[in-house]
């Protein structure tokens, strides 16, 4: 097993109209082994979706800088020519967008939208295409496949739309799927079925994944390693079990503490306050201005404001960006 994807010092900034640049990703680096599932956790707005789209070189019109490198099988996707990228996108690496209503063409039947992906990667012949489209849809829909294929996006439920996106992403048998909240609008039963589909693909095709989610419990049975983003930077990166069971970074700790223990825990009937991390993440606009989590960190120290913390190893494969661990 070698690494199939390496992201090196990726920086992406958006140029908002009339204001200074907003740095959504600020030096993110990590490596992905083949067949590995990397879970990505992080607060809303921490740059997870930006990371997902940037890996494929997809940038919104108002992106002003994108530096660093995304090495896929040795070649840098950020420098790749358009036709080279086109061959990789959807075929080798595919992306499941976060918001299904925005990622589907509003006036094209969803079956055809899946078919277009297959056709774009060299599949020919009407009947072969139809056949394959049906097969792909059947992997994500347990019933009513025919009707759903014929529907337009606005005629589907949220979860059905989301599964169409998943079908598009797995249609061409990619070796890497970047999934941005792929099960956010699925009920637990369907979610489990979809996770089962991913697991099966992993076994059959050696599928690797970057799995972005808000639900750490999902990653518990799914991810090999875990990346925690905070304000566009890597806060913590390590084996999933280790990070979930004994998080090192104060942010990861606060995040995991804010999971409500409601389902199995005792319920006393009244609606008490849920724990949340006070303050909001407003990344400092200047690099080198200290730890981005400092204003909200319950464990902050004097040094935290003076310079940026570096990623340090707390164990062989577990790195944390926090001064608490720098001198160990």
């Amino acid at each position: 097993m070698g690494s199939i994807l390496e992201v090196r010092d990726l920086r992406v900034a958006y140029g908002p109209r009339g204001r200074g640049a907003f740095r959504a990703l600020d030096g993110v680096s990590f490596c992905l082994e083949s067949e590995e599932v990397l879970g990505v956790l992080g607060e809303s707005g921490s740059g997870k979706s930006t990371l997902a789209t940037s890996i494929l070189g997809l940038f919104r019109a108002n992106t002003i800088v994108a530096t660093g490198a995304v090495l896929f099988e040795g070649s840098d996707l950020l420098q790749a020519k358009p036709d080279e990228l086109q061959r990789i996108r959807g075929k080798r690496i595919s992306l499941i967008f976060q918001e299904p209503s925005m990622a589907l063409h509003p006036t094209m039947r969803v079956g055809r939208q899946v078919q277009q992906v297959l056709a774009a990667h060299g599949m020919k012949g009407r009947s072969a295409l139809n056949q394959k489209t049906r097969e792909v849809l059947e992997t994500v829909f347990m019933e009513e496949t025919e009707r759903i294929a014929r529907s337009y996006p606005h005629q589907l439920s949220g979860g059905q739309r989301q599964r169409v996106l998943i079908a598009q992403a797995i249609a061409c048998g990619p070796s890497l799927v970047i999934a941005d909240e792929p099960t956010a609008s699925l009920d637990p039963t369907t979610q489990m079925e979809i996770l089962g589909v991913f697991r099966a693909l992993r076994k059959r095709l050696g599928l690797g994944m970057i799995f972005i989610t808000h639900n750490p419990a999902l990653l518990a049975g799914m991810a090999d390693r875990l990346l925690v983003l905070y304000a566009g930077r890597v806060a913590e990166l390590g084996p999933a079990e280790e990070v979930l069971a004994s998080p090192k970074h104060p942010y990861t700790r606060s995040l995991l503490e804010s999971i409500p223990p409601l389902l199995d825990g005792p319920r006393d009937g009244n609606k008490k306050k849920l724990p949340s991390i006070p303050g909001d993440s407003r990344p400092s606009s200047l690099p080198g201005a200290g730890c981005p989590f400092e204003p909200r960190c319950p464990e902050r120290m004097d040094i935290c404001k003076t310079r940026d913390p570096q990623l340090v190893n707390v164990s062989q494969s577990h790195t944390v960006s926090c001064f608490r661990y720098e001198n160990q």
């Binding site: 789209t53 494929l56 997809l58 919104r60 019109a61 358009p82 990228l85 086109q86 061959r87 990789i88 996108r89 959807g90 075929k91 595919s94 992306l95 967008f97 918001e99 925005m102 990622a103 589907l104 063409h105 509003p106 006036t107 094209m108 277009q116 992906v117 774009a120 990667h121 337009y152 606005h154 005629q155 996106l165 598009q168 992403a169």
Partner: protein, 323 residues
């Protein structure tokens, strides 16, 4: 279906309104065909009076309108005083020529505007796009009439293009390819004038509509699936931008038709334009009304076509209507 029915109802309502207006205005205008006849000493006043009664010019307006409507419903559009023959066949020949001009111009204008507009939207803000925008802006300020006259001057100066009519005098003696070529040569100038008169408008709208869609997230998503640039532009972006463009299509029929009437007069193309002008000057009542009505019918037909297209292109309208 209800949506289409509603549009159809609108169309009928519009036709009735326009015919009523045309009828009222032309009859209320001072003078009529027989006034001019009266100046001719060779025609006896009795003959004129007899004609007036025959054509019911003495009866009150509502009754005449009612009679006219019922005869139109029977396929009789009235009688031309000047040509001394029924209006419909006369109109039909002219209308065919006008349609030939308008439809060709329409196809050509859209055929140019779509790819050029898409290309321009794709290169938004770059030099070629800006030059194109400048060009369209310049074309927009030139009035159609000036454009048509300009081409007439070119035709006369170069001597290569015929300066009027639809075919040459020796048309009948030509073989089929020759006939086609002759027709083409005669059409070239009026068509160019027409196309140039609507092209800037179409280009601007196509470009704006596409530019908006090209930034849509679903296109980014499609790009992320490795869909080719061509498919992305023509199969994804264009249909998504179709709604405003289809409305524009309906509108462009109107502009082209009115532009065509003008250009026909200037370049003496034997269409509805010169025919109507003649009829108005001669106060040839039923020809004027018929001509106006026919033009309205074309307009409505065009817009109805646009509605059908919209219905076909946007599933959201379809379901809304079916509830």
């Amino acid at each position: 279906m209800r949506y289409l029915l509603r549009r159809f109802g609108h169309a009928v309502f519009l036709l009735v309104g326009v015919s009523l207006l045309a009828f009222t205005f032309t009859t209320l205008a001072p003078g009529n065909y027989f006034d001019e006849m009266r100046l001719n000493p060779q025609i006896a006043p009795e003959t004129i009076a007899a004609l007036r009664t025959q054509y019911e010019l003495d009866r009150p307006l509502p009754i005449r309108y009612a009679h006219w409507v019922s005869s139109v419903l029977h396929g009789d559009m009235g009688f031309s005083f000047a040509y001394n023959s029924p209006v419909l066949p006369l109109l039909w020949v002219r209308a065919r020529n006008t349609l030939l001009l308008t439809i060709t111009a329409m196809l050509l204008a859209w055929g140019i505007a779509l790819p050029l507009g898409i290309w321009s939207a794709e290169h938004l803000g770059r030099l070629p796009d800006r030059l194109l925008s400048l060009g369209t802006a310049a074309l927009m300020v030139i009035p159609d009439l000036a454009l048509a006259l300009g081409f007439l001057v070119i035709a006369v100066k170069s001597g290569r293009f015929p300066t009027g009519g639809m075919v040459s005098l020796h048309f009948e003696s030509l073989a089929f390819p020759g006939k086609l070529g002759d027709l083409f040569l005669h059409m070239a100038l009026p068509i160019t004038a027409l196309v140039l008169s609507v092209l800037p408008l179409l280009l601007r709208h196509v470009r704006a509509a596409l530019a908006e869609v090209l930034d849509a997230p679903f296109l980014l998503a499609a790009e992320g699936h490795g869909i080719s640039r061509r498919t992305l532009l023509y199969r994804y972006a264009l249909p998504a931008a179709a709604n405003p463009l289809i409305s524009l299509f309906g509108f462009s029929i109107g502009t082209l038709l009115s532009g065509s009437l003008l250009v026909e007069v200037v370049m003496s193309w034997p269409g509805l334009g010169p025919f109507l002008l003649e009829a108005i000057l001669a106060r040839d009542l039923y020809v004027v009304i018929g001509g106006v009505l026919l033009s309205t019918l074309f307009l409505i037909g065009g817009n109805f076509l646009a509605d059908l297209l919209l219905y076909w292109a946007d599933p959201r309208i379809r379901t809304e209507a079916s509830v």
